[in-house]
Each structure stands twice: as structure tokens, then as C-alpha cells.
Symmetry: C2
Subunit: 212 residues, 2 copies
């Protein structure tokens, strides 16, 4: 871990807060006045060090050319998660790729911080129905999905049923020759399907419910 002087920590924190508030980076002079630094060359000197240490990237040919790198928060691992459909929509969920993300999804939700650490290929689905209510997933909730086509027994996944032509959200249990799709609702029975008939399209990693 590189050791920062208190002045350098102060500069990084100032840049972070400035960005969060103004939505554009500070200038060297902003840093001078915001960090009580005596001159632009002192600021410049410290910014160069911060760049060498990998905390920022400078674009010296443009004004305000300071980028924060590898920061949490607010620029920790943050994903723009598209809400790309609803469960039980009658067609497979289009897994997000670079191509499909250029289209405008129905809506998006941006999630970052610890929730997204280590996650890639995340998309969201809006739940339709109450089949998972005993797992406290309700109709209308958003579930954040991580793309995968293999899940462990008991994990909750979105699976595409080829013959029925629908996507369903269930706990998946695999045994030879058949898959059990288990609702988390005591009023509903499991579905048994041929392994050839399904395709796992993602597993649930988080649930988000909006109340107000």
C-alpha cells in the first residue's frame, strides 16, 4: 500500500467531493483554493505524484483533465444495470451484450459499491407473479441477475423453457434426467422438466424493491 501524505489524501478527497457535487473535475486552481495549498506548482507537483502512484490520470492538454482511478466510493465497481424484461414474458431474455446495450432498455438502475464487487454481466429483470414470495421476492420487484448458464442446487435462477416458450424464476435442483424448478411459495408445486428443455439464463444476486 502506497503511503500518501496528508496533503495528498486531502487532494484526493477534495477531487472526489468536487466531482460528486459539480459533475465536472476541478482545476489545479480549484485544488489550490479547496485544499489551502499555496501555489499551483505545489498542487501540480502533488498531482504528478498521485498520477505516478496510480490514483489519478491526468490529461494535461485539456482543462480539468483529472480522472480519478480505482476509487470506491463513488467510482467503485459500478454497473449500469439494464432492466431488460420481465419474468414470464413468453420469450427468452436477451442477454446483454455490447450490441444490445446500445439500444435503450426499458429502464436502468445504477448500482455500485459493495453490492457489485466482483460482478460482471449483470442485468435486471422485473418480477411478474408471486412464485418466489417465500423467498421474499414479490411481484414487481427488480432482481439483479448475473449471467451464468450453470447454477448450483438451490440457487434461484431465471430459466428459459423452450417448449413452453417462457422464462421463469425458480430455485433450480438438478438430478439425472430431470430438473426440478421449485417455487418458493407454499401454494405452488414444483415443475419437473427435461434438462434438454431448459436453458439457465442467469442467477439472482440481489433483490431491489421500491416502495415510494
Amino acid at each position: 500500500m502506497k503511503i500518501l501524505t496528508s496533503k495528498q489524501k486531502h487532494i484526493l478527497d477534495f477531487i472526489r467531493r468536487f466531482l460528486a457535487k459539480r459533475h465536472y473535475p476541478p482545476t489545479v486552481r480549484d485544488i489550490v483554493s479547496g485544499c489551502q495549498i499555496s501555489s499551483t506548482s505545489v498542487a501540480d507537483y502533488n498531482l504528478n505524484l498521485l498520477e505516478k502512484m496510480g490514483f489519478i490520470r491526468r490529461h494535461r492538454e485539456v482543462s480539468r483533465g483529472i480522472e480519478l482511478l480505482n476509487q470506491t466510493p463513488p467510482f467503485g465497481h459500478r454497473l449500469e444495470v439494464p432492466v431488460i424484461g420481465q419474468i414470464a414474458a413468453g420469450e427468452p431474455i436477451p442477454v446483454p451484450t455490447a450490441d444490445t446495450w446500445s439500444t435503450t432498455p426499458l429502464e436502468t438502475i445504477e448500482v455500485g459499491g459493495e453490492l457489485m464487487l466482483g460482478k460482471e454481466g449483470v442485468y435486471a429483470l422485473r418480477v411478474k407473479g408471486t412464485s418466489m414470495v417465500d423467498e421474499l421476492i414479490n411481484d414487481g420487484d427488480l432482481v439483479l441477475m448475473q449471467y451464468t448458464n450453470v447454477v448450483e442446487n438451490g440457487e434461484t435462477a431465471a430459466v428459459w423453457l423452450k417448449e413452453e416458450k417462457e422464462v421463469t424464476l425458480k430455485k433450480v435442483y438438478t438430478s439425472p434426467g430431470r430438473i426440478r424448478l421449485q417455487p418458493a411459495n407454499s401454494n405452488m408445486k414444483p415443475i419437473f422438466v427435461d434438462p434438454e428443455n431448459i436453458e439457465v439464463q442467469g442467477k439472482v444476486i440481489a433483490v431491489i424493491r421500491q416502495l415510494a
Copy 2:
């Protein structure tokens, strides 16, 4: 819905893509070259219109002083939400202010997009206990709270019990002379308290549960 000219749409899209890529806003001249506009005064003219229509905010006294407004993705209303405590922690929740946010919260989660439209003063709490499980809020869930000290009957709020010295999450029902704090758990009974004994500290606007 305001009608944008194709040039204006092009400018907005360019600004959005420029921000996503460079992490600083474009200059008027960047827009000129990136949108094949013939001069800086044409760009300036159109930016002024976009500002009047509410798509951007300009800070004309600084370089790169262009902010996108009301945009999703990526710069929709996005808040860095601190997780500042746990419910039933035995002390009042410190409501986030400019001062307290300078301290490092336990963790943070970043949420944006439609979930946060119109919201200010949002913080998060981690739920401890199952008193709200019939409202599908489980032990360990994060609840996003909007600071308020007034709630409508039936809304779920964090309330500080002065005598008991604890914070609890309950549905709040007000009647003359007494407040009913109603768990959403059929195994638990409501609590009745004197209005003088409580302080509403925020209401739940969303629930986030992490599974993986």
C-alpha cells in the same frame, strides 16, 4: 415533451458519450468538432436552448461547465447512499448531514436511475430482526431511507424510542394520544407509545437484498 432538433439530439448524445468515455465534460469546441458544427457560436446558441429546456445546466464561468440533467444512463439522479447503522442498534441513527458524511460510513451503496428520481437525503440501514418479514423485508436486508420526520399512516419508518433508547422499523399509525408501531409479522404484536416518546427518523423507500 419538448421537441429537439436533430442537431440538439446529436449534441446531447455527444455530451453523454463524451462524459462516459473521458469522465470530464466536453468544451464548446469539443462539441463543434464532435458534432460537425460550423462554429462555437452555433454550439453556444444550441447549448443555451438545451439549458432553457432543462436538459443541461451550464456553468459559464468555468471551462467544461456543462452538466447533464435528468439523464439515465449514466448520469441520472444518482446518490451515494451511506449505510449508517443497523436497526435496533440502541442509539438514534445519525441523520446524514454534510458533516457526518465526511466520516467514512460502514459501507456505501450507490443507487441511481429511476429508483432515485426526486429523492434527496437518502441513507441506508441494515435490518436486524424479522419484524417486517410479512412486508418481505428480511433480517440483513438494506433499506433505503428518505429522511423525514413525518410519515403517513401505514408507511414504514425508522423511529427512535427515546425511553427505550432504540431505533425500530415499523409501520406507523398515528391516533390522538398514541402511536401504534405495527410489525409486519403475524407472530408479533404492535407496540403502543406516547407521541412524545418517539421521533420518526426516515421512511423506507426501497429494499435491497443481496443474495450472492
